[in-house]
Amino acid sequence: MSPKTDNPSLQVNLGSLKLKNPVIAASGTFGYGEEYSGIIPLEALGGIVTKGLSLEPRQGNPPPRLAETPAGMLNAIGLENVGLEIFLQEKLPFLRKARCPVLVNIFGSTVEEYAELAKRLSAVDGIAGLEVNISCPNVKAGGAIFAAEPKTVYKVISKIRRATSSFLMVKLSPNVADIGKIALAAEEAGADAVSLINTLTGLAIDVQTRTPVLGNVTGGLSGPAIKPIGLRMVWQAAQVVRIPVVGIGGIVTAKDALEYLIAGATAIQVGTAHFIDPRAGLKIIDGIQRYLQANNFPDVASLVGSLKIKKDTGQPT
């Protein structure tokens, strides 16, 4: 272990993308940044991922769109968003001034739409990179259909890679059989990083009416309930890819974030927790720093993937 550091560095490198700390606000939970700007200093975060963006505006799913579940929530927003044009005209100018790296989450219903979005977004200033959403469980097109098979992941990501030289992170779905193979396909197609997990498909039922609680019938489960699954999948993915893995799923406290870092995540995203506590991300940054100090880590990187496992146990399945 390195000598004791009073001021450990929180900086992390996601390949070519340098972040001042490993805590990123997750897509779909932080709007376009401005929603939280009156409450917390955005510049304190490592980065922001904006609400999933498509070429054309999308209206989203019929309400109810939310259901609270034990230690979690289901959502079926349906990727409602303002579309590329309005994003560029009305949302990006604010984000440019936010002094915080902005990753734009993108999705399309065809491979060509993904590539077109990537191309047009790389031509504008103020965007640090793209997060490609191939894993939304709540829409038929542009959703999980791309994320389920290594072959389709490779196809869509390599097409996007040819369309842009921007930093490219691929957000993966947990609703797959072998996360390692999917992550590997993203890496081989030229992704700079993978982020996981997106929500798990779930269902909530009202027994009085015997109807689904959500207008869309099924929704995506997020929150503390999914943390063990996220951790397991990050750990599995981190063992097969060389590109950085960004951990997502039920991170509420610094302890949760540390678990992800130890499992192999280079950075983490905070999602649902921001609904409950807009300061969750800031508290996590603070908590990571204190942990590094107390345990004599000079930087975050020396903690990443430091999970100790006895030989012949717990091999990835």
Binding site: G60, P64, L66, P278
Partner: protein, 335 residues
């Protein structure tokens, strides 16, 4: 457009009282929010530190006590908010255990509250059940404005009268009766079981008023169960009166980020919506392809040319927490 300030504070519970079988009142000392709060707006309360129940709960203001600069005789003069809640689920059950003196995490004020309708001489407040609660705060403000009116008034115009029509399943399911009385307002009351006042619905009272009294210069402000609001919207449409409704909605964040609290609204003018910079700035989604909905098909069925007759009622989703929770009744698509 500069965002409205939102505060997150640990507010001390000044008072917490049961006021009916499953109705409670919670008064929170939080000058930062009380200073900014408007009737019809709301706060998100974190009712538990654990992850179950996970989400904050939204509550509109029952009473607002703005901080007093001079005479501070009562504790609430420091600046306080009072909410009135009904126990309906796990979040509110958990809330009943909160004790006076404890601190509670409060986020607010949030959303768009009631606004005074210009040039109307009568304000009719109509509420049902727990939905009466935010009307108490609004009545208080209207009365204050009326008091100030003699000097000068920008907002209340020529408001002369406030009429309150409230209802509930039974007499103990209607909050705020005493508060209205204290303001010098004598609410007309309807109960479904006849335990107090007229036996029937608050909307029956409204119809009776409008039919017998005319009230051509009235503006309506309403909150209550969805079927009641839909009926109020229908009645006010018939009598061609402006009507604002406060809609309850499930929400996760309260600040416009999660898009969970979608409300389906009429979008009469397509071009208008596209050009409306404000609507866009607020993130109101406009989706052309999905616009040709049932309403248009319906007007064809009736043999009306949709272009000449009423413009087709295209819809869009807006956020209850940001564009609402108070809406114009005629904008809502009641389904």
């Amino acid at each position: 457009m500069k965002p409205k300030p939102i505060k997150e504070v640990k507010a001390r519970i000044q008072q917490h009282r049961r006021v009916g079988v499953d109705y409670f009142r919670l008064r929170l000392l939080c000058p930062e929010i009380a200073r900014l709060a408007q009737p019809g707006q709301f706060v998100m309360l974190r009712v538990s530190d654990s992850s179950d129940p996970l989400l904050r709960r939204p509550f509109s203001f029952f009473r607002i006590f703005p901080p007093q600069t001079k005479k501070r005789k009562r504790p609430e003069d420091e600046g306080a908010l009072e909410i009135c809640y009904q126990v309906v689920g796990r979040g509110t059950s958990r809330m009943t255990q909160l004790r006076e003196g404890e601190r509670l995490d409060v986020l607010g004020p949030l959303g768009k509250g009631f606004w005074p309708e210009e040039g109307r001489s009568l304000a009719i407040l109509i509420g049902g059940g727990i939905g009466v609660a935010p009307l108490v705060a609004w009545a208080e403000q209207l009365r204050r404005e009326q008091g100030k009116k003699k000097r000068f008034s920008k907002t209340s115009g020529n408001l002369k009268e406030v009429l309150v029509l409230i209802g509930g399943k039974s007499r103990d399911k209607i909050p705020g009766i005493r508060e209205f009385m204290r303001m010098g307002l004598e609410p007309q009351i309807a109960t479904e079981d006849g335990s107090l006042g007229f036996q029937g619905l608050a909307t029956d009272l409204l119809e009776r008023e409008l039919v017998t009294q005319g009230h051509k210069s009235a503006a309506l402000y309403s909150c209550g169960p969805l079927p009641m609001l839909a009926r109020v919207a229908q009645i006010t449409d018939q009598f061609d009166l402006p009507c604002q409704v406060l809609l309850e909605s499930r929400m996760a964040c309260g600040v416009g980020a999660c898009l969970g609290c979608a409300v389906k609204v009429r979008d009469r003018t397509l071009r208008g919506a596209l050009e409306d910079e404000d609507a866009r700035a607020q993130g109101a989604a406009v989706h052309l392809e999905d616009r040709c909905g049932e309403e248009m098909a319906g007007s064809w069925r009736e043999g009306l040319a949709p272009i000449i007759a009423e413009p087709p009622a295209f819809f869009r989703y807006v956020r209850a927490c940001k564009e609402g929770p108070v809406f114009e009744a005629r904008d809502i698509l009641w389904e």
